[in-house]
Structure formats: C-alpha cells, structure tokens
C-alpha cells in the first residue's frame, strides 16, 4: 500500500476519526501515552518493578519503608478495583469490604486471638479463593441490576459489612484484632519491613502479570466490549452475566490477597481501616491514572499515595502545592508566554497586597506559617497570615477564614465560566493569591482533612477536564 496518495480516502479510516487522532497527537500527554503504549509490557513491568526492588537498598528510614509498603498495597488495591470499574465499567462501591474481608480472614487464620497459626503459603491462596467467592456472591445482583442500582446495592453490602465488623463480638468490634502473627513461609517468618516490602512487591509483579494476561485474553476483550455496550455484547452471544461475575470475583480476589498482606504488616486490623474514605481514595487513584490502563492505575496509586504522604508535613506540603500550581499553569495555559506572566503577576500582586496590609491592617500579617523551612520564610513575606485565624485544632475562629475558603471555591468556579482568555488570565491572578492564602492559613492547619478536600476536588475537576485520566484512552459515547 505504499503507493497510496494521502488525499485518497482509505478503507477503514474515517475522516472524523482521523481529525480526532490529529488533534490528539498535538498534546504532550498523548505523546507520552503513545510512548507508553508502544513499549512492550515486559519492559514496562521491569521499569516499574526495578526502582521498587532497589528502594529498600537505598532507604534507611523505617518511615520511608512503611510508606513504600503502603504504596504497594494501594497499587494492588487500585489494580483490583480497576477490574470492575475500568475494564467492565461496573461501579463497585463495596470494594473495600473485600480488602477488609481478606485482612480479617488472615486474622482468623493466624493470630493469637483465633488460636491458629497457618503458614502464608496456605493461608494466602485460601483467602484469595474465599474472597473471590464472596465477590462472586456480591456480584450476583449485577445480573439483574444495571448501573446505579448496582452501585447502591454494593454500597449496602459495604455498610452491612461495617455494621458486622463494628458491632459483632467475634470481630472484637471497633477495637479490632491486634495480635496478628507475622507472615510465615515454610517455617520462616517475615520479620523486617524490608521483608514485607518484598512480599508486597512479589505480589505486585505476580498480580499485575496475571491481570495483564487476563486483559489480553478473550475474557479481557469481552469485558471491554461489555463496557462499551452491554446490549451489543449480549447480541454477539457474549455471556454477559458470567463476565460480570468474573470481574467481581477477580477484583475481590486481588483485594483479598492485599488484605492478607496488609493485616500482618499492620499487626492489627480495625474496622476503621476499611471505610468509605479508603474507597474514595482508591477511586481517585484509578481515575487519575486512567481507568482501564494498568500503567495508569499503578502510576495514579503511586502519585496519590506519595502526595498524601507529602501533605503530612507543612513544608513538604507547601512545596507540593506550589509545584502543582506551577505545573498546572504551564500545562493548561496557552500561549506559552502566558504562564510566566500570570505567575509574575501573582507574585507582584501578593507583594503589593502584603505591603498594603502591613501599612493599613498589621493584624492581617501578624501570624506565623505552619512550617519552618526556607519556603515558609518566603511565604511569610508574601501571603497574608492573619493572627489567630484558626484555633490550635485548626478550626476557624471567626467568619473570616470560612468566608475566605468559600469565597475561593466560588471564585474558582466563577473563573471557569469566564469565556474571554484575557479576563480569565487577569482573574486568575487574585484567585491564585487567594488560593495561596487559604492554603497557608486553613488547609495546612488541618492536613488530614485538607487531603480529602483535595481528593474530592480532584475527582470532580478530572472528570470535567480529562475523564480518561493521565494514561487512559478517550472514549466517545453517542447518546
């Protein structure tokens, strides 16, 4: 077909599709995506696993090792959730119950409370099968329910599970089970954090390989067909119900294995570890990376967990905040000279506002930042830091903090409605400054809450701006 001239229409190549592909090719994200998709799967796996494999050799601190293990656990969970949500398009709101079930089953098989001491090579496969079977049972309603009803029923299952966990005596209620034995493979216990890290890493490599092969198989293709159009898939004689149940079972099995690793890492299981907050965090991971893409989901989980960890320390959190703002401006604003102008304008605006406040209302700049690093000193001379705006617990003392916060939300939303590029850029300057003030005064005061506020906002913004996430393919749906 080399002699074909470009003007002639080609078979199977629709003009609209071609123009969409052309538009797509212009963005940075899609170029990255093409590179990722062009790389062989084995290379990608090594590229991911290698940094993790050397991580314990480079890191000394126990805290960072714990973060590493948590990251891997989140990655595993996100991969499990991706099966139902990303590949089959079922909104499973009960997913964390499977994770909890895996963890509690491990506690039932290997803890002093249960009086049993099963070895991991028996316990983990058993738990995987048992939780997958539970997933199958919970998935049964999906045969009759579509979309949103299914979401609600799975949410019922999660609530029922939590009710049992919190109130039943055999789970020891909210106190949880706290004397869980460490993982033991063929008589050798895993005792160090490094050991657990490698167990989680092996689980990651194994599970991601299985999921990859599954996705490449007939079943994987059928799942995607089901996601795009259930009715059409059924008409093509695909066993729709069985496919849905399989997706539930596979996702649940992954969550169960993860739970069985999570329980001995923590040494204890509590009902509070398996609640809606975890569920929504997992959704954020899956969606940020790109539902349906293994690379995307993995990257999303790592990114979000790393950001959540960074948000614990005020100075790190500030770096993260200003970094994300600058990157977002660079990526979103066109033409290219605009981001530096807006950033410069914001800095000047802030300095002027700070100077004016010092002249007229010194109380507005009398407070102190939450961190003590270099960035906080810079911030102190730029952002308005009113005295006693929040209590030591971080709650606003008066109306000013609340008004600033709500005003910021209103301003950001209002700004998205401004059509003219000039006015939007002009409006961006005070909004950015207000955001910095609210960040330094209110959000840093309660980092634990601020991270969830940000996750919620991110989910909404992502769905509106780039629903396919960082690595997902854009899907077109005709109404």
């Amino acid at each position: 077909m080399n002699g074909e001239s470009p003007e002639q229409p080609r078979i199977g190549r629709d003009e609209w599709v071609a123009s969409a592909a052309e538009r797509r090719a212009r963005t940075v994200a899609s170029r990255v995506q093409d590179v990722v998709e062009g790389t062989p799967a084995a290379v990608k796996l090594v590229a991911f696993a290698l940094p993790f494999a050397v991580f314990p050799l480079l890191v000394e601190s126990d805290y960072l090792m714990q973060v590493g293990i948590d990251t891997l656990i989140f990655v595993l969970l996100a991969l499990g959730l991706n099966v139902a949500v990303g590949w089959v398009g079922l909104l499973d709101l009960g997913f964390v119950a499977f994770f909890g079930l895996g963890a509690y089953l491990y506690a039932a098989l290997a803890s002093e409370y249960a009086g049993r001491d099963w070895e991991a090579q028996l316990a983990i496969p058993l738990i995987a099968v048992a939780v997958a079977a539970t997933g199958f049972l919970v998935g049964l309603p999906s045969r009759r329910l579509v979309g949103d009803y299914l979401a609600i029923v799975t949410l019922f299952f999660l609530q029922m599970w939590l009710v049992v966990l919190i109130n039943a005596s055999f789970t020891r209620g909210p106190n949880g089970i706290s004397d869980i034995l460490p993982l033991e493979f063929f008589g050798r216990s895993v005792t160090s954090l490094d050991g657990y890290f490698y167990v989680a890493l092996v689980a990651f490599v194994a599970i991601v390989s299985v999921l990859y092969l599954l996705n490449q198989s007939r079943t994987g293709r059928a799942w995607r067909a089901l996601r795009e159009d259930e009715l059409a898939a059924e008409l093509m004689t695909m066993p729709v119900n069985r496919l849905k149940l399989m997706a539930f079972a596979v996702g649940a099995g992954v969550a169960g294995v993860t739970g069985a690793i999570f329980a001995p890492v923590q040494g204890a299981v509590f009902p509070a570890s398996f609640d809606l907050v975890l569920l929504i965090t997992l959704y954020a991971m899956v969606v940020l990376g790109g539902a349906g893409s293994l690379v995307g989901v993995t990257v999303g989980a790592v990114l979000i967990n790393a950001s959540l960890e960074a948000l614990r320390d005020p100075s790190d959190a500030s770096w993260l905040f200003y970094g994300v703002v600058v990157v977002a401006l660079l990526v979103m604003l066109r033409p290219r000279w605009l981001p530096p102008v807006v950033l410069g304008g914001t800095i000047v605006f802030g300095l002027v506002a700070h100077e004016l406040a010092q002249q007229w209302r010194p109380s507005l700049v009398a407070g102190a930042p939450f961190g003590e690093a270099r960035i906080d000193e810079l911030v102190e001379s730029w952002v308005l830091l009113p005295e006693n705006l929040v209590t030591p617990d971080g709650l606003p003392t008066g109306a000013m903090g609340r008004l600033a916060y709500i005003g910021l939300i209103a301003a950001v939303l209002g700004l998205t409605l401004v059509r003219s590029r000039l006015w939007r850029s002009v409006g961006l300057v005070p909004v950015l400054y207000l955001a910095a003030c609210v960040w330094e005064n209110m959000l840093l005061a309660q980092p634990a809450v601020a991270r969830f506020v940000l996750i919620g906002a991110m989910l909404v913004a992502l769905m509106a701006v780039r629903p396919q996430g960082l690595f997902g393919r854009q899907r077109v749906e005709f109404a």
């Binding site: 398009g89 916060y405 899907r475």
Partner: protein
C-alpha cells in the same frame, strides 16, 4: 403486646419516613430527568442542617431566641432551602453539566467527588464534633398530643406537617404548572422535549434547585427532631432516601412519599424489635443489617419499585 412501644415506634417511623420522603423526592426528580444517581444529595441535606443551625445561633440560639418560635422555624427552613437550592444548582452546573455526553460512570465518580468534597469542607470549617439544635429548649418535650398510648411531641407534628405541605406543593407544581409539564416532558424524552422548544438546561437547573431545596428543608427537620448534626450525617439519609425512591418507583412522586414512609417504618421497627426477634443475640446496632437485606431483596425482585413501570430498554 407492648402497645406503648408499638405506637412510639409508629410515630418514630412516620417522622423518619417523612424526612426520607423529602430526600427521596429530590433523588427521584433528578434521576427522572438526568438518569443520574446524585450521590451528593445526602450531603446537600447535611449542609441544610448546618444552615439551619447557623440561623438558629444567629437569632439567639435555642435558649433565648430573639424572634417568635414559629417565625424562627420558618426562617431556618427557608434559609436552608434557599442555600441548598443554590448549592444544588452549583453542583449541577460545575460537576454534572460538563459530563452530559460522557460515559455513564463519569458523572457517578464526579458525584462521589462532590460528596467527599462537601463532607470534608464542612469538617474543615466546623470540625468533627456533633452540633446540637437543642430543640428541647426551644419547645418543651411535654407540649404535644397525649392521648392514651399516643404521645407526640409537637415538633414531630411540625416535621410531619411541613414534609406533607412540601410534598403536596411539589405534586401540584409537577402536575398543574407549565414548569411541571416541562419537567415531565424532559424526563420522558430529553431530545424530543428540546425539539418542542423546551429549554432543557433551564428545566434541569430548576429541578436541581427544587430537589436540593427539599433536601435542605429535610436537613433542618432532621436537626429539629433528632437534635444532633455532624458532617457525616448526610450519608445515612442519602442512602436511605435513595432506597425510598427506588422502593416507591423512581420518578414517581406518590412513590417517593410511599417509599419514604415504608423505609421510615422499616427503619424504626427494625431498631425497635430486632432484639426481641433474635432473643437478644443481635442488638439494635444491627438493625441496618435487616433493613439493607430487605432492600437488597426488594431491589432484586422488583427493581422498578411499587409505583414504577418496568423500564423497556431501547436500542
């Protein structure tokens, strides 16, 4: 048979039921028009409860209100309705409208995000402690009906009455006005409605305003009867309100009223009788278990609800 307990549970159930019915109406209207499960609806209710609480505090608090009690109650409800209506419109405009043509799962995830955002915003601004309406200081518990085993606090009567008035008002709006006709047309077939000259976007915005205003009112009513509010209360009411809408038949107004009553009574009775039925083995904390089991079975057996018609899939 313990008649006092039975009657008390009945009264509890009807009170709860009228609140659930208000929530169910909002769900039902939005679902009818957009086919969208507005997971943030319960959180709108929570915001309404906080607005009512704010107005109460601003007008002197429950111990020493600066206006007459009836006026105070009316102001609280109206402020919550207005605030939540605006909130609902904002949610629709910024979280759902950009996703009209997206795959079905996208608005649901966006709704999860909105719900999480609102909850944590209130947590950030007001903290995790329960806030109290102190309604017993406003109206004494003894004021009300005392007739044999029937003892009803007047606030409960107010709540049931207010819910009834709003439901009848909504029913009149939907069946008798031009806007109601436009709403029904849009719910039936959005594209055909648009071709008939109905401004679909405006109808959707008004639907969100009305539905969210009802949720806001429900929030204040919850606060008045049960006294305690916090940032997470919306989840429970949202979940049960949605189920009420499904039980009654989504999209049907009498269905939502009936469903609310059904869930309210089921809720109250499962709390009241679970210990007797299981001979003390399961405490009242397990009542949700029974309720959810009933609901799952119901959704499987009759997903279109009592008053709904089975949906025919169009290709």
């Amino acid at each position: 048979m313990d008649w006092d307990k039975l009657v008390q549970l009945l009264v509890n159930g009807v009170t709860l039921g009228s609140v659930y019915a208000l929530v169910a109406l909002g769900f039902s209207m939005v679902y009818g028009i957009l086919k969208l499960l507005n997971l943030a609806h319960g959180d709108v209710l929570m915001v309404g409860a906080f607005i009512g609480w704010g107005i109460l505090g601003w007008l002197g608090g429950a111990q020493d209100p600066s206006v007459a009690v009836w006026l105070l109650l009316v102001l609280m409800v109206l402020a919550a309705m207005a605030g939540c209506g605006v909130l609902g419109v904002a949610i629709e405009r910024f979280a759902y409208r950009p996703l009209r043509r997206a795959p079905r799962i996208a608005p649901l995830i966006s709704a999860l995000g909105v719900s999480f955002f609102i909850q944590n915003t209130v947590l950030l601004l007001y903290g995790a402690n329960f806030r109290s309406y102190d309604t017993v200081d406003l109206v004494d518990v003894e004021v009300g009906i005392h007739w044999g085993p029937l003892n009803v606090w007047v606030i409960r009567l107010v709540v049931i009455g207010a819910a009834l008035v709003m439901m009848v008002g909504l029913w009149l709006l939907v069946t008798r006005t031009k806007l109601g006709k436009a709403m029904r047309a849009t719910a039936f077939d959005r594209e055909a409605a648009a071709m008939m000259g109905i401004d679909v976007d405006r109808v959707i915005v008004k639907t969100f305003f009305i539905g969210s205003a009802l949720a806001g009112a429900a929030g204040v009513l919850v606060g008045l009867v049960f006294g305690q509010i916090n940032h997470f209360m919306g989840f429970n009411y949202g979940l049960k309100g949605f189920t009420a809408a499904v039980v009654g038949g989504i999209g049907s107004i009498p269905g939502a009223m009936f469903g609310g009553l059904f869930i309210g009574l089921a809720d109250a009775f499962s709390v009241g009788y679970i210990e007797d039925f299981t001979r003390g083995r399961l405490g009242s904390a397990f009542s949700d278990l029974v309720l959810f089991l009933i609901l799952i079975v119901f959704m499987l057996v009759r997903p279109q609800g009592i008053f709904g018609k089975p949906e025919v899939k169009k290709v």
